[in-house]
Symmetry: C2
Subunit: 195 residues, 2 copies
């Protein structure tokens, strides 16, 4: 039996061209205006009618998801490279820092992921899942090493990370702010030495 994913259903040449053009313009627009850039302008700059954009990417989330897909996959793959650089909790810390940096590239992205990773119906859900399981691996190791509390839940940790990303994004605080807030959270996840 042939394992044929439907990744690449054939597309009419002009449709394919429009699809790619829209993606390219969306990438630019999101970087420039944030995740809630005007869809109308994206369509216009791609040289297509607004209806065409909706044909290819029904809700706005679908467009965001398409733009994020590559980036999100490579990030999940990179997760393993964070293992063993320091102590397990240091690895987790470094990974979370990278996660926040990624989630901060587009303004509004953290908010979109916050809801998207929750709802199974969302186009962003799949993206979130691969990142989540990659993160879970790092958390798990730190827990087995006895450095991080065993009750800690990966979803909670990622929510805090996105919360930090939102705070940095909305208050204009830079990497310093992110480092300070993240340090607090990671320390809060540690097993308390004596109590």
């Amino acid at each position: 039996m042939e394992l044929l994913t439907e990744r690449e259903r054939p597309m009419r040449a002009d449709a394919r061209r429009n699809h790619d053009c829209l993606l390219a313009e969306a990438r630019i627009a999101f970087a420039k205006y944030g995740a809630d850039a005007s869809l109308e302008e994206i369509a216009h700059r791609a040289g297509v009618g607004s209806g065409t954009l909706y044909r290819h990417f029904p809700p706005r989330e679908a467009l965001l998801e398409a733009v994020l897909r590559d980036w999100t996959e490579s990030m999940a793959e990179d997760a393993a490279s964070f293992l063993g650089k320091g102590s397990p909790s240091e690895d987790l810390h470094a990974w979370l820092r990278a996660y926040i940096a990624h989630v901060t590239v587009y303004r509004g992205l953290a908010a979109a992921l916050m809801v998207g990773m929750q709802e199974k119906s969302s186009a962003l859900y799949a993206c979130g899942q691969s990142v989540r399981s990659a993160s879970a691996e790092l958390l798990h190791r730190a827990q087995e090493a006895g450095e991080i509390r065993p009750e800690a839940d990966i979803s909670d940790v990622l929510k805090l990370a996105k919360g930090i990303a939102l705070a940095a994004e909305q208050t204009g605080g830079g990497d310093d702010l992110i480092d300070r807030l993240l340090a607090i959270v990671v320390d809060g996840l540690r097993v308390q030495p004596a109590k």
Copy 2:
């Protein structure tokens, strides 16, 4: 010299009535649709033209601020009542829980406060200041008692609190989620027993 704040500049009777009507409707609309409820509908339900709303509350933030003012002031006043109920850090913890609960009453409020408390030009800035100084008092006590790290900054702490509020709001997680995340943050603020 008379200390006469301009709190109550006289207003024409009809203007006053419209002002109050708009506030009442805004309260209802924010509760129902979140902090980004339709201004047009608020004006309509208050029985005034849309222009009248803008005359009274130039940017949307001003309307939000007006709706929040009482509530925000009473909260700052209540802060003192949190002192001495438990250990200083427990008091802080309880206060932050109350803060998050307040910031969660309207959907979108946490986000609005996150930016509003930062920009001096914002109508929400003053609101934020009184709450911030009330919070600083509680943090300070816990620091003097040697329970909370001396480097901890109140603005950072409140940003984390708002981040938690955003996470709860956007993922639909209830009080359980808030309690879990807040416990992590507060533990992260503690002075580490031995290291």
